[in-house]
Symmetry: C2
Subunit: 178 residues, 2 copies
């Protein structure tokens, strides 16, 4: 059993609005993936049309999604990839390290804990939880410690800088990889 919170919703009330639709924020994380690639390929600017074609979306929708958080584009030019990427990471809350815990330290939990792709995106897998006594106290190959799922307070033994989880209400994982 695995719990992860990868698609971090924006903080309520960041720079703008009352309520951002979840559909919008889901798309933002899609745009961000594309911007990461464009940036890595050295592309400087991209138009809403360009993004739209990639994802079979409507260009106006993309502009609306983005305009919702500010005026990031330049008329006649499009969006500067680096700049938009920075903005999206901030809007999605990916500009700070996000500490995450994984429930279940079986093969899957251990593999997820050490998966480099998460770290790369700014997620810090800070702890594993399991209900098997013999696992508690152990750690993953890369050193993620395993705690007793029935004794959440045991996490106190973590150094304070690593505490403070954003726990998702349900043990449910909604992740997009690459």
């Amino acid at each position: 059993m695995v719990a992860l919170n990868l698609v971090s919703r924006p903080n309520k009330r960041r720079q703008t609005p009352d309520q951002v639709s979840e559909l919008t924020t889901n798309r933002l994380s899609i745009y961000l993936r594309s911007l990461n690639e464009l940036d890595a390929s050295g592309v400087q600017t991209v138009s809403s049309q360009g993004l739209a074609e990639q994802f079979h979306l409507n260009a106006a929708q993309i502009r609306k999604d983005l305009a919702y958080f500010g005026e990031f584009g330049v008329r006649g030019v499009g969006y500067y990839v680096k700049e938009l990427r920075r903005h999206l990471r901030q809007i999605l809350g990916l500009d700070r390290r996000l500490r995450v815990a994984i429930l279940g330290a079986g093969n899957l939990g251990l593999a997820l804990a050490d998966y480099p792709g998460f770290r790369q995106e700014g997620f810090e897998i800070a702890a594993l939880f399991d209900n098997l006594r013999e696992k508690v106290g152990q750690q993953s190959r890369l050193g993620v410690p395993i705690f007793d799922i029935h004794d959440p307070s045991s996490i106190r033994s973590l150094p304070p800088a690593s505490r403070g989880f954003s726990t998702s209400r349900r043990a449910r994982c909604t992740c997009r990889m690459m």
Copy 2:
């Protein structure tokens, strides 16, 4: 990098409708998870209200979602858990074995390939793909074979019964676990 297709959308045109909203089908798989648990606990019937409270949803919405595919409920009683579960599994296409491939045979891919939870839900992980020469030809601990990602035709060596994948267009994974 991992590609999985867990939330199987219903076949276009099963028993009813022109177009089922993806929002609806996503919720169906949420209901199904709950029904699995209720069934396992021996609960016989559940009302739309009962389901709604669990997920912070509107009871009318749940009734609409379900009524879209037929009249599964009984007025004054609710829904029979076993029966509704069977219907949902059929609607979501989980009543037949679904063959799935995973791209990437790293730690994560290998752990996913052997994760028992998938099999349990009727998914058969039939193949792994990787681009590392030394991995091709190997297999996971439980015997899922690894193929060359650059040579998809190599999958021909699988016994015919295991062929025929539903490939997702993008290497993207949207899975909910438990």
